[in-house]
């Protein structure tokens, strides 16, 4: 096995691992509201979302070689790698970027904070490009237009729209019996949340497909910049669906219970807003983060319903996480590239992969100390992510569900 082939294999595995974290980190964007209002049982919700992510991943007919090309200088205008970087250099840069994205996704998941997986990946790539080429390796204009500005506007637009929708639908349905109202809105929730899941599968799995395809082109075993090998498509679809099915319960809990107390009309208003914003932005060429949109929508429903209160402390922590996502992932990506480069070649990438595994296992073990799972995801929010182990939550859902 040559050095480049070994690194390629590690990059593919790492990219699929990123795709997996992308899945479970974002389950809450679509399903947190349906789980919180009881429209769907937790396991059913993540199962449905997983299937729709899988289907969505196969629906993507275009190739997103653009995610890296928008922000860093390693590709020419048609998306193919710059010829001087072919082989080990570009593979190492992509690998380090993925490590930055994965570690930031895991860290924010540990704290139950919904942060953008795309920003984490972009941040990781920027960091590794800066480490490799200096600040000239980054397309700063692209960072402003595809990352910074959308991050500011996405949550604000979503919050305003969801607040308006929530206010009006409560006014319209004020005199309907709550049982009938909730039964109706639960169906609306399921429909709109499904659309968000499908859109997520299409948009996000595509990003990993693009990264793997870029690596394959960099290695020299694939030449087309407009199509993806079928095994890449299948692997990415399965990875994001599996991640979604595992369910990022910590993030789901923050979104569904922590930010605002959600009723089913609010849940429906939030998911329709998310779906509308994601679909309309994708086709205007302005990529909004699913996470920022979904979080903004949920917050907006809290602003729109009279008597509902938003936990601004929780919202504040989310905003802090969003602001530091890109720089934090960039620092990790940069350090990873530096260390891989210092050790050199296949050995460097191999060592950093082991470091990545160790860090991931460490964070997983840390999460067990205050485990959040399908059985306690809806427990009362008492000042923090960790649910109190009350008898009430135990009896509410049978163990093992």
């Amino acid at each position: 096995m040559t050095e480049a082939l070994f690194i390629l294999a590690v990059v593919v595995v790492t990219a699929l691992a990123f795709d997996f974290t992308n899945g479970f980190h974002d389950t809450g964007n679509a399903m947190a509201t349906s789980i919180a209002t009881g429209a769907l049982k937790p396991k059913v919700a993540v199962g449905l979302s997983a299937v729709l992510n899988l289907v969505g991943a196969f629906l993507s007919v275009q190739v997103a070689l653009t995610i890296s090309n928008k922000v860093i200088n390693i590709q020419s205008s048609n998306g193919a790698p710059v010829s001087a970087l072919m082989g080990v250099p570009i593979l190492t840069i992509v690998f380090a970027g993925l490590v930055g994205g994965i570690l930031w996704n895991l860290a924010t998941w540990l704290f139950g904070l919904p942060s953008s997986s795309s920003h984490a990946l972009i941040g990781g790539l920027i960091g590794s490009a800066i480490a490799a080429f200096g600040f000239g390796g980054v397309k700063w204009a692209g960072v402003i237009t595809s990352v910074a500005l959308p991050a500011i506007f996405a949550p604000v637009i979503a919050a305003l729209v969801a607040a308006v929708g929530t206010r009006v639908i409560y006014a319209i349905t004020a005199r309907i019996a709550p049982a009938n109202r909730d039964k109706g809105f639960r169906w609306g929730q399921i429909g709109s949340a499904s659309l968000v899941s499908l859109a997520h599968g299409t948009n996000d799995a595509q990003k990993t497909m693009g990264v793997i395809t870029l690596a394959l082109i960099g290695y020299g075993s694939w030449t087309s910049t407009t199509s993806v090998p079928i095994w890449v498509k299948v692997a990415c679809a399965v990875a994001i669906a599996a991640g979604t099915y595992i369910g990022g319960w910590r993030v789901i809990r923050t979104l569904g219970k922590g930010l605002v107390e959600i009723e089913s009309p609010q849940g429906m208003a939030a998911e329709f807003t998310s779906a509308a914003a994601i679909l309309s932005s994708a086709h205007l060429g302005l990529a909004l983060s699913t996470t920022h949109v979904a979080t903004g929508s949920i917050l907006g429903t809290g602003l729109g319903r009279k008597g509902a209160s938003v936990r601004w402390g929780v919202a504040g922590r989310m905003v802090v996480a969003w602001v530091i996502t890109l720089p934090a992932a960039a620092i990790v990506g940069g350090i990873c590239w530096q260390l891989s480069h210092l050790i050199g070649g296949a050995a460097g990438v191999g060592v950093m992969f082991v470091v990545l595994l160790a860090a991931a296992v460490g964070m997983f073990l840390r999460s067990r100390r205050s485990a959040v799972s399908a059985h306690n995801v809806n427990a009362e929010w008492e000042g923090g992510l960790a649910p109190a182990e009350t008898t009430e939550t135990r009896t509410a859902t049978p163990a093992g569900v």
Partner: protein, 91 residues
Amino acid sequence: MEIITTTLGEVWKVALGALILGAGLPIVFSLGLKSLYGSQTVAARADGGTTITGGTGAAGKVGAVVCFGIVVAAILFGVVVLIWGKQMFGK
């Protein structure tokens, strides 16, 4: 500066699309619910529960079907946009 103003131009379109569909569809949906259940009256019982009386007339049912139909059609349109949007809108 130019890249920022161009982006802001896109932001307005997204905001408009999100408002029309994101707030509009839940509103249509809730009008459907009102049409379906609006003629029923709810009375509080002594035991703390509620009693629902009254039925839904034909007009109410038709109104509900129309409203829910619009929402379902919009969701299906969303799926179509998701798959073929780039070809449809040329981006």
